[in-house]
Symmetry: D2
Subunit: 177 residues, 4 copies
């Protein structure tokens, strides 16, 4: 059974809320889901998962130092965990404030670990999407913001099912395929 | 007198509208302002300007091929125009759709030409800013979106005044300095 | 049988040589391999493939306008081809000249199309790797440069075999798994 | 008199060596130069400088957590120090290993603080340049690697002289101007 980890750092609680919606989205599918803050998570969680969503507040357009520290600290896993499936989410102080760019910093790091990373083409509302990961300005409140987080988790679960578990029937859940 | 060029590509007219607001912002200050579409602009415009704002629709998270073609085509200027001041703007189909990332592709290109590039720290409304350039989802309609375009032009004019023209008195226009 | 497309733009022939090595690498595995220049390729090639390696000269730290034009032009496929596996390669004028950054512009674009993108953790020589795609300064001449191109093609074929074809036995070919 | 800060994190000493060469380059010009490790530096150093070169080992394609922590920790300065001139340097385990991408993460962060950031167009040897900051694979040993660090410091000093100090005569030092 596919295993999905939602790993987040949070300061104000906004990114934590996003993480909960991501986990909720993933849980709609037959995969095991763990949600952990960067303080709770350990190397074992990374080894355990097939797919991972990593979320951080948008600090200065780059993931928070705490999230970076976590990944810098488990670098002995590097080169041994290639091929996991990864994605990102981030909450910034405002639109145009770097949440997409912060997602890219997370995806850059996950690619460095040999992961396959993705964004989502689906729109979750009027003029709202998650091409490089789920993004919010502040707390996820609007319907389309919440749905973006959920869709990220859904898509992560779907790719794990389709690619890792080899359950091609879940391709039908992916838009327009 | 400082010279500011606003260079844009547009398909639906959204980025053109952004360009007009950027030019309007710059025009509040004692600099010469030119606004040109990528089809109208020539090498001479690039040589002319001290500061430049480059705008493109967010096509696939990267500036449009037409904008890229313009800069690829004038590459004989490369290495001869270092030190201009540059910034970016982009309109995407939706939030989370890559407008920040497309701005980064423009800034990457301008840095390659030896330009000094910047974003703006100011907020232009509730949860709305332009840290990597002015961004919109679709047409600039909301007050904060329009203001973000204007503030980009203002700041570009201010940096040109302060740094290129040496008029330090304009530092007072820059937030909290 | 898995299908791999190597799509490249070239001006001096350097990126074409890289493309040939990438194709050679992919051909070591039981997948069908097509190699096409951006002028020869069509929408049909994109529909055909399961995995794709996209290469461009490093023009100004961003893929060439010709490569961008190709992808901008087939945008009616957008939202219908999610889930392909993608990677990048680029040749710059020099080290530090933007080949990694240009690979990132390609990966950004492929993610926008809903693809899963990857780099490779393997080293191909002393102080030489391809974490964000295969990179060269000029023509691929040195053993480690040539090998980086080949390993990119190998890994692309391997991910297609493992994930798209469901042949988990090829996981053993992936370093340290 | 213009003030230049070289701020670095280091683990193996490679990035420290780069920092020393950057500082040496800056010191060729009439500016004050401070060199500090991220452990020694304080908020006061950031307030003090007009221009800054920030260097980090390439950990996972993003600056080290220690460097990020420094900037996350002084965020009360944010919005009050716009307009400084910034650049980046990074040492990776290998070519293609993310040193350019890590420089981009640093430049992203500095732009968020409202800084004007730049790369250098000059080549420092055969097929060697520093378009997004000075980069090395391992220790800076080769002539062109050492020179790239020095040229980064020189250019930083030159931009501080030309733009902050208003000494336009230093434009002649900038290639082909």
């Amino acid at each position: 059974m596919g295993k999905v980890l939602v790993l987040y750092d949070t300061e104000t609680g906004h990114t934590k809320k996003m993480a909960e919606y991501v986990a909720k989205g993933a849980s709609k599918f037959p995969v095991e889901v763990r949600i952990k803050s960067v303080e709770e998570a350990s190397k074992e969680d990374i080894l355990w998962c097939d797919g991972i969503a990593v979320g951080s507040p948008t600090y200065l357009g780059v993931m928070s130092w705490r999230m970076k520290k976590f990944w810098d600290s488990i670098v002995d896993l590097w080169g041994k965990i290639d091929g996991k499936i990864g994605c990102a989410f981030s909450s910034s102080g405002g639109w145009g404030g770097g949440n997409e760019v912060a997602c890219m910093s997370i995806l850059t790091m996950l690619m460095n670990y040999g992961f396959l990373v993705f964004g989502v083409t689906d729109y979750t509302g009027d003029k709202f999407t998650l091409h490089y990961g789920a993004v919010c300005a502040g707390e996820p409140r609007e319907k389309e913001e919440i749905k973006a987080c959920e869709v990220l988790g859904e898509r992560l679960a779907q790719w794990v099912l389709v690619y890792v578990d080899g359950k091609k029937e879940y391709l039908k859940n992916i838009k327009n395929q």
